[in-house]
Amino acid sequence: MVSPEMQKLAEERAARMKAANELKEPDRVPFSGLGGDIIAAYAGISSYEYNFDFEKNRQAIIKWNTDFPADSPQGGVGGLDNLSLSVAFVDFPDLANSIFMLNGPMNDVLDMKFARFPGRQLDEYSSPQFIGGKNMEPEEYDELIADPQKFAYEKILPRISNNLQDMSSPKALATMARLGMVKAQQAAELMKTGQALAELGFPSGGGFGFGFAPLDYIGDHLRDLPNVVLDIRKYPDKVKAATRSILEVLFKLAMQNQHADTIMFPLHLNEYLSPKLYNEFYWPTLKEFILRLAENGKKSSLFCEGWHDPHLETFLELPAGWGRAMFEKTDVRKAKKILQGHTVIQGGIDVGVVISGTPAKIDEYMKALLGDMMPGGGYICGPNVGNLPRETPIENVAAVYEAIEKYGKY
């Protein structure tokens, strides 16, 4: 049961996020929270236990979010991007959306070549790793363009999964059936975790789904990043045509997620591309994706990995209030100068400072950050990278939360 007190807290948190998302000033700066590998370490369990034992996972998440509560809950059943599988099954929405994030027990069933999990291919204290790879040859662009779903099903799955090598074999059918069983068990566990978080005063609903820049699908899952950069010069028309076909599939996938009011996009090739290439091969289909989501009442949230400075102005081509941008190496102060009143900005806490600073230094850092970023609203405070390593000093984590209360009031 959610107590009235916690119910009120959840409403406050939701209102805070909502105000920032509407580019306004809330009562206090919304804080997305710190988390990552540190959550398991704080509970005294290994990364292996955190990723494979859902009861221990839940206890760790409850402990962390009780002691370090932010405006959105932290932690989950760490997943790796499994997009090719979702693309292959995009015509089956209930399935496609639930298999998008590959967690440990799912990978025990699928045995994906791009994935490594703690206690399996890695030691018990490592975090899960997506190691990528090249799964497509340039001669195959025409097949991809003609039908990305068919291409994923017939060509990519056999190349990325050791258990789906022959999709018509009993082994492959058994693998998909087993995946369903694992997912059903997990759904029950995740319900319990969700309930526990609601009891801690975290708003339920307002879920998020995933979207990808179509060119990133080619880079992350099909050709590998450096190859796609070369393909752009060698086969520009094919690459462009492929991003258009992929957009249709990825948009369909994002729209199927009915509970999601925000679609999150991790951007990868942004840092690689010159503004000229970005504006010709990357941005057009990403922009169209965002605009179509907006027409359908969904906001977008872009995680601009790496250095995004040369592309900041392109956001201004979107209507004000389209969504938010989170930054890694780009200075949020610089982004604010360009995007204030137009795009919600998230980030600003350099995790390097949290890992290697001292509470006094962090207090000073946070005071300066909030002083610069809060005025005018439309800012969500949070880390520049989602994962704090196990060794992060806990007093440094506490210093960040204290600073939010101390300097974050409007």
Binding site: V229, Y272, G352
Partner: protein, 209 residues
């Protein structure tokens, strides 16, 4: 022809650059001319990158062009004196599998005349030690893009010290997670988070330039 090669290479006109290089390499003394010109072009590309005019897309394309041209140029250099500035053992540290940046740096370092021994990604500490014993490099380059890799670099350097090899080499670190503070923390001699600067500093560590 050298001028044209230089220009088409720096302008990223791959077809033209490869075509000219193929012709030039067949002329008398052509192989050395191709090599020198491509090195000069890579240096110019690096300069444009540092100046913010070129991006990773151009570094990757330039590296690809350089490799393509070297494939048919190097066999023709057999017997020629090719000056080497020194040897570097290069790898991405244990726990980290990112290789794109390392590979870009490698091509640029090679183009500058450094002999690079690439020992791959997710390289165990001991493998660095073995490679140092085997190749006797003047320089060791470590690449690291994830936070976890920082401690891995520190540990690798400790293991190199324990093996009594630290004083024989200079260590330069690179990749997205490095900084002055990280360099001091792990005990390296130099750091660079862009390839052009990395090559410059490597040459300095070798006492060249």
């Amino acid at each position: 022809m050298r001028e044209q090669l230089l220009k088409s290479f720096v302008d990223m006109d791959e077809q033209e650059a490869v075509k000219i290089a193929r012709e030039l390499v067949e002329t008398d003394g052509g192989a050395v001319a191709v090599l020198d010109t491509c090195k000069e072009a890579m240096e110019e590309v690096g300069r444009l990158f540092e100046a913010g005019e070129y991006f990773l897309s151009e570094l990757i394309a330039a590296g690809d062009m350089f490799n393509q041209i070297m494939e048919f140029t190097l066999p023709k250099l057999q017997g020629e004196e090719v000056a080497s500035l020194g040897t570097m053992v290069l790898g991405t540290v244990q726990g980290d599998v990112h290789n794109i940046g390392k590979d870009i740096f490698k091509v640029m370092a090679e183009a500058s005349g450094i002999n690079v021994i690439d020992i791959g990604i997710d390289v165990p500490h001991e493998k660095f030690v073995e490679a140092i014993k085997e190749h006797k490099p003047e320089l060791v380059g470590m690449c690291c893009l994830i936070t976890l890799g920082v401690d891995s670099m520190k540990r690798t350097i400790e293991v190199i010290k324990e093996a009594g090899l630290r004083d024989d080499i200079k260590i330069i670190i690179g990749g997205g997670r490095v900084s002055q503070a990280v360099m001091e923390h792990v005990g390296a001699d130099a750091w660079a988070d862009d390839a052009a600067r990395g090559v410059r500093l490597s040459k300095e560590l070798l006492g060249k330039e």
